[in-house]
Assembly symmetry: C2
């Protein structure tokens, strides 16, 4: 396993894991007023494109990271729509 | 300019641009209660690693996107520390 793969995997884990506490906070508090709806929407479209980019380069860290982040982001978007 | 470069650049633009409305919202409202501090911190470290990953693959979209996102994320972290 080379060092670049490890760095990519760590990067992927961190930026993906980052959205989990945000989703948990929004889910538990039922408050999303300070979250930007535009951010959620732009992130969703951007993450979909990153997945295509990762597929084109056969980069597993990019594909995996952005797929999980996309799921978290979609749930955050749902919470934002629900709680405003 | 090949299609993969265009997809990567679009992805980079969207996921980077996504944080701008969040930063503007937090800056203007002076309210960051619903934002997760853990998200900001994990994103910061993750983005730094993505920049190294992009450098290793000489991927301009990954390097540029994550550098600008990192700056926005650091400012968001500053606002979160300031407003709580």
């Amino acid at each position: 396993m080379d060092i670049v793969f490890i760095i990519g995997s760590l990067a992927a884990t961190l930026t993906t894991a980052a959205f989990l506490p945000q989703v948990i906070k929004a889910h538990n508090s039922k408050h999303t007023k300070d979250l930007s709806m535009v951010m959620c929407v732009l992130l969703t479209f951007g993450l979909i494109l990153w997945i295509f980019y990762g597929l084109a380069y056969s980069s597993l860290p990019i594909i995996l990271a952005n797929s999980i982040t996309l799921l978290l982001c979609l749930y955050l978007l749902y919470l934002k729509v629900k709680y405003g």
